[in-house]
Amino acid sequence: MKKLINQPQNVVAEALRGMAAAHADLLRVNAEPPYLVRRDAPVQGKVGIVSGGGSGHEPLHGGFVGTGMLDAACPGPVFTSPTPDQMLAASHAVNGGAGVLHLIKNYTGDCLNFEMAAELARAEGIEVEQVLINDDVAVQDSLYTAGRRGVGATVLVEKIAGAAAEQRRPLKAVAEVARTVNDQSRSMGMALTSCTVPQAGRPTFELAEDEMEIGIGIHGEPGRRRMKRASAAEVAVMLVEPILGDLPFRSGDEVLAFVNGMGGTPLLELYIMFAEVARILEGKGIRIVRSLVGPYVTSLEMAGCSVTLLKLDGELLQLWDAPVKTPALRWGA
């Protein structure tokens, strides 16, 4: 296992120590139960936004804690949902009297734990709203599945809801904006390699040198289908076409295009993918007005990428452009 770690069971706790040491200007880390919270939390009168999920997706979520995005993040063990006590403690820590919004990627584990946390928080008098993120078009039929997964759109929902909360919009309105971003976003991902969960010690799946997986999630799971490796141009078509058909996106739409790295794919390749995505969209008359390129929602060291498109309107655009100051996303501040 080629990892820069000490004990496999300590990776999350030790990475949190690193976050605390590196970003004391932006956030604080609570060790037990583990959560990260913006330095000045709770902000009186502001909706507190809490997200979280298994670790291994860094910078998601801890890297997005700060001004204009998340108030707190709850890290679980690698690829394992955190627990209700973390979410409850984080909700208390960010509750500035205007209620707390939980942003939840739609995985059974995350849903169950956040549900229990909300029950506990409400019982303790905190107003809680929850928004499920489920943008992955690779999961096709929610009658026969746990429903679409939350993937790339998570960053966009967190950023935009964070901006809305920063404007002191009320809880219901912030939740509403978060739901709109999720509704207007679609994603799909692929992998060239698997990844190795530290405690498992070997890759979750094996891919031959000439194979790839299309329709993966972000937990090292194999995807919908295994195929022969293809060019960046061909991969872009396989990812973008299902996205476009699903919303659907139409000629004249203005979008935020997000090419996300899964962790092991260098930026050079992500920009090649971005060029291919841009070419396809241009051919359809869809205009890229904002972009994001980089490893933001990762799956440890997996090689691969995902594409997310968000249909923008003036309101979402203005919230996207609003200042944000977190370890991993920062502008205007």
């Binding site: 679980g76 690829f79 394992t80 059974t108 584990g109 549900e115 599945t145 969960v197």
Partner: protein
């Protein structure tokens, strides 16, 4: 111990299960690597090691205290899908064991059924969805039926364990419709479900402990 499950016997069950999970950690994780995300063994092991370390704190308590400790510990240390579900199982059992220092067979059955109902209410899985339900529900049904037929508790548990094992084995052929494995669609067929496997172990430990 065939007439009732004492406080001491219940703790033996928990300890036996913790040991079984420790022994099968890698195997459970490998099952989860095939159709999930490769953490089920680690999740359960983390939880039950925490349970072991906290058992002394309820040494004086009744069965409800024991089950509540297990449930709360799983809830706050396991995470993922199995944490809230196994946590719910034990919390529901605790509700049925209020003030009790032993459970008669029928009381045990009712407590376990409440636990199963709790898991179903939380996870909303149905039999055939390829989850822990596919081991737990047949086991529960077999247990009730055997007790209704006046079988001894050990014999009833033996039948329940056998039903859990068959239920676990039946998940291999199923296409998952709940949890992470469902994302694989038809590719989930051909692998046993990790949660059904850990659930069978739970029944197996009961049958082995309460002879």
């Amino acid at each position: 111990m065939t007439m009732a499950v004492t406080r001491e016997a219940a703790e033996q069950w928990i300890r036996a299960y913790a040991a079984a999970i420790a022994e099968h950690e890698q195997a459970l994780t490998q099952l989860d690597m095939a159709i999930g995300d490769g953490d089920h063994g680690a999740n359960m092991h983390r939880g039950f090691q925490a349970v072991l370390s906290r058992l002394p704190t309820v040494a004086e308590g009744d069965l409800a205290a024991l089950f509540k400790l297990v449930g709360m510990t799983l809830l706050s240390t396991v995470g993922g899908t199995s944490g809230p579900l196994y946590g719910t199982l034990f919390l529901q059992m605790a509700l049925r064991a209020q003030g009790k220092h032993e459970l008669a067979p029928e009381e045990l059955e009712a407590a376990l059924r409440a636990g199963l109902d709790g898991i179903i209410a939380r996870g909303k899985a149905a039999p055939g969805d390829k989850t822990m339900i596919d081991a737990l529900k047949p086991a529960q049904d077999a247990l009730r039926q055997a007790l209704n037929q006046q079988e001894s508790l050990p014999e009833a548990l033996r039948q329940a364990e056998e039903a859990a094992r068959k239920g676990r084995d039946a998940t291999t052929a199923m296409e998952a419709r709940k949890g992470r494995a469902s994302y694989l669609g038809p590719r989930s067929v051909g692998h046993p479900d990790p949660g059904a496997t850990s659930a069978h172990l739970l029944m197996e430990c009961a049958a082995r402990t309460w002879v």
